[in-house]
């Protein structure tokens, strides 16, 4: 598996999510705002499940 191919776009999203959560907690000092990253984290979980499924399908072939 080519890790860079799989992970670079996900890393780009994670950079944004982590940066925004840190801004919420450290600069705005309202940790509740950081919970707004949860929907996108669920999307990334779905992407992980999708990647595992596609890899298994390719391994069967």
């Amino acid at each position: 598996m080519d890790l860079a191919k799989e992970l670079l776009p996900v890393a780009a999203i994670l950079v944004v999510l982590i940066s925004m959560a840190l801004v919420d907690i450290i600069i705005i000092t309202d940790a509740l705002r950081a919970l707004t990253i949860i929907p996108m984290l669920i999307v990334l979980l779905l992407w992980t499940a999708a990647t595992v499924k596609v890899r298994r399908r390719e391994d069967v072939r």
Binding site: P9, I27, T36, M40
Partner: protein
């Protein structure tokens, strides 16, 4: 305040996307997507600056006209990252969608709308004010107006549909890339008309 944070975040995210595209897609596709994204971001935000019902950008480190430099990178980074992960999700869970022209762009639009939420919630606070919506905008989550996820989603859908269409044309890759970059000007107009329509619907419903 602290606009350097969002500028560096967006530019780092975009750099990762450009590296991915350069390594795993054709070079002309990469040029088309990210130069097109830069043109889209800078021209669009200069037009937005002329529309008082939308937002303004105070206090950014670098501008091109009225547009912060980061907007030349931000839109394309969100479009690209959401497009790639959405393609994988469609491939795994709904492969029949990938045969439809709107399939992957639609999932990319939904994901882009979800990505907008943490960005806008951080951007609008009094401590940051990376961009400021007018008082008349209907706020739904801290300072985030209701229109925001629809705006990001609509932009992602239009950009990806036009990109896919341009890249499938039977021309040279260079000509397809140049065609798409010029086409981004049309995407901007369609997207701004769409935004005003959504805003009007929200005003009517509330």
């Amino acid at each position: 305040m602290y606009a350097e944070i969002v500028t560096l975040t967006v530019m780092l995210g975009c750099l990762l996307c450009i590296i991915h595209s350069w390594l795993y897609r054709s070079h002309w596709e990469t040029v088309a997507f990210f130069v097109g994204g830069f043109v889209f971001g800078i021209v669009r935000e200069n037009l937005v600056a002329l529309m008082p019902q939308l937002y303004t950008y105070p206090d950014h480190p670098f501008y091109i006209g009225a547009a912060p430099l980061m907007m030349g990178f931000g839109w394309s980074a969100s479009f690209y990252a959401c497009w790639i992960i959405s393609g994988r999700m469609v491939e795994a869970f709904a492969p029949s969608l990938s045969e439809r022209w709107w399939g992957v762009p639609l999932i990319s639009a939904i994901n882009s709308g979800l990505l907008s939420i943490p960005v806008e919630v951080a951007a609008g606070a009094s401590q940051t004010q990376w961009w400021i919506w007018p008082a008349s905008a209907m706020k739904v989550l801290w300072e985030m107006p209701a229109i925001v996820p629809y705006g990001w989603a609509g932009a992602a859908f239009l950009f990806i549909v036009f990109f896919q269409t341009a890249m499938r044309r039977e021309n040279t890759p260079r000509k397809n890339a140049l065609t798409f970059i010029v086409t981004t000007l049309i995407i901007i107009i369609i997207h701004l008309v769409y935004l005003i329509t959504i805003r009007t619907i929200i005003v009517i419903l509330t």
